[in-house]
């Protein structure tokens, strides 16, 4: 599984930490913001496009509140993204929404919790079945 990660300036420190953490778990992490200058709009578009083009399987964006990147990501056709602040949602959004992206707010979520959110998002599988009609509906929308 290929995972893209990125952040704006305010999420940079947490992004660096999560990148190392996920590397230590054996994930292949592609850092889309080696430069620090991107705003959350640009980095989110970059990662959403990488998923649309199937260059990566999952994306994680970290900005100060998570919510700006969350809105931007979901404005992309075919992208289902969750702003996650708890471990339970990290699991359920994979299982029920088949989301391929999450955002995390570095000003809201502490580092231990962020580690767990990222880890569980990547480790959880989609349930399919009845949930597919909802995913089909989301994908018909823009």
């Amino acid at each position: 599984m290929k995972v893209a990660i990125g952040s704006d300036l305010k999420g940079y420190e947490l992004k660096e930490h999560i990148k190392e953490y996920l590397n230590s778990l054996g994930y292949e992490i592609q850092d889309m913001t080696l430069e620090k200058e991107l705003d959350f709009f640009d980095v989110t578009c970059k990662i959403a496009k990488a998923i649309q083009e199937k260059k990566v399987d999952r994306g994680i964006v970290i900005d100060e509140y998570g919510v700006g990147s969350f809105i931007v990501a979901n404005k992309h056709k075919g992208i289902i993204c969750a702003n996650v602040f708890d471990e339970h949602s990290a699991k359920m959004t994979r299982r029920h929404n088949n989301s391929t992206m999450i955002t995390i707010g570095s000003g809201i979520v502490g580092v231990r919790l962020a580690e767990k959110i990222a880890e569980i998002f990547l480790a959880s599988e989609y349930d399919g079945g009845r949930h597919q009609i909802r995913v089909d509906m989301l994908n018909k929308l823009w």
């Binding site: 809105i71 404005k75 602040f85 809201i108 929308l141």
Partner: protein, 171 residues
Amino acid sequence: MIISIGCDHIVTEIKNHLIDYLESKGHKVIDNGTYDKIRTHYPIYGKKTADKVASGEADLGITICGTGVGISTSANKVDGVRAALVGDVETARYAKENLNANIVAFGGRILGIGLIENIIDVFLGTEYKSTKENEKIIQKINSLNGHVGQVNDDDYFDEFLKKWDCGEYHD
């Protein structure tokens, strides 16, 4: 204010509670359903709720499902809608003040009702600050808009509902 609200069948009671809560504070509420606990599909209600906001029929919107993710994602895919999925008061404040978010969303299986009420109070009570920086990011978000034709089209999901009725989706 006129508030457009929508939920899926997992959290109908929470939505009903919030309608009472909002009406008791003097708001007018447009209830887009779902109205019972019969299994249905969150994008229907996310889109309906968001359409009212996009068309100006409602001032702001509230969407709720289990985690909040599904219904707020469908809302965000409506042109002109910025739906903030939040788990805390401060993120709701930020989203309204800086991104001029017009829908607030949360998970009814994630947050408790006291926290939800506090989030709604703050979301409704916070004013957008029209700075150069905020305007720029909102313009960028608006530039991502898709197909305007889908707004207020009630038959939009019919193809999938027909497949559902034929039993083509099953666990």
